[in-house]
Symmetry: C2
Subunit: 211 residues, 2 copies
């Protein structure tokens, strides 16, 4: 019997260090599969189809939604974003865990989907608003107006922390990484996530009877 893969959802306001943590987790466990989103927005310089995103026309995207092939989707600033279901189900069947770097809307849709029982959701909080804003300003040379818009969006994202299974305050990236690994290891130790246990206990019984 196969072990079914977990769906590990990582959400946070942008600037809270989520992408760094996701990258570190992927390095620590190369069997983790990173979920690639589909989008209708134009590829930016250097972005490759199937790596950063699956780039789709609006028609193709909407057909996938209509056919139930999107695990979750949402429209953000006029573009559609979503998670194609096929690769996720293939990884699960294969016993591989999938990591999702998505916002609260995507998290909510996946938690309400038919795959809900295999979801582990983690929210990353920034240590302070000053820290969050500084990271947003350092990262890109955006106008004050753009930064202000991002900060408003961050506060909406933060307001959904209570919907997540686990919460990590990212005061120190090494400590946050350790906490993230701890959560993943513990979730994998759950009785219902170790299907090999059935066979193991059967073998104990056989050994007992054969003495």
């Amino acid at each position: 019997m196969h072990r079914r893969g977990l769906l590990v959802i990582l959400s946070s306001p942008s600037g809270a260090g989520k992408s760094t943590l996701a990258r570190r987790l992927m390095t620590w466990d190369p069997t983790l599969r990173f979920s690639v989103s589909a989008t209708t927005r134009q590829p930016r310089q250097g972005e490759r189809d199937g790596v950063e995103y699956f780039f789709k026309t609006r028609d193709a995207f909407e057909e996938m939604v209509a056919a139930g092939e999107m695990l979750e989707h949402a429209e953000v600033f006029g573009n559609l974003y979503g998670t194609p279901k096929g690769p996720v189900e293939a990884a699960m069947a294969d016993g591989r865990d999938t990591l999702f770097d998505i916002d609260w809307q995507g998290g909510q849709q996946i938690r309400r989907s038919s795959l809900a029982s295999d979801v582990v959701s983690i929210f990353i909080l920034p240590p302070s608003i000053a820290d969050l804003e500084q990271r947003l300003r350092t990262r890109a040379q955006d106008s004050d107006e753009v930064i202000a818009g991002r900060m408003e969006k961050s506060m909406t994202e933060i307001s959904h922390w209570g919907e997540y299974d686990y919460v990590i305050i990212n005061r120190d990236v090494d400590a946050a990484e350790a906490e993230l690994k701890t959560i993943l290891m513990a979730e994998r130790a759950r009785a219902n996530r170790q299907p090999g246990l059935n066979a193991f206990v059967r073998a104990l019984n056989t050994e007992f009877d054969a003495r």
Copy 2:
């Protein structure tokens, strides 16, 4: 707001290394409180009231059961064993986690009690029956008949592994100890186990509004 303590239930057949693991966990985290059971059996040489057990007369024990003062209880080989509720509730209110070294019957009763939502249950499996039997034989100079009885009881205990949240196969005591700590750390990172988060997020909102 106080953090409410967890009830950490550790069960296993005797000889699977549970007591060693419990002791190591207590050394690692001295804030953990070890749940002392009450019993009607006679104290053995060196056993102190309130340390190894609370020693009770059958009348006193039954009065506590009737008054709803036992979280769980059972009769084993003619003696009553149980967990007094008072100290557990006091520790929980104090934000301290309690460690229970109890069998599947006790575990089941606590999981069905009013404190169910604060329970984390972990089952320890032996690597093999040969290993289990050898530990039972090494530990005490018991007759083959006594050992056989213990082994039968162990198999009953093992048959309940599926009722537990987590399962650890004790192939190596250091690895099993690390897994146990991982589970405890992850459970403490759950959103609903960190009540300080409410205040933390309120402070983030205040900081945002005050900019």
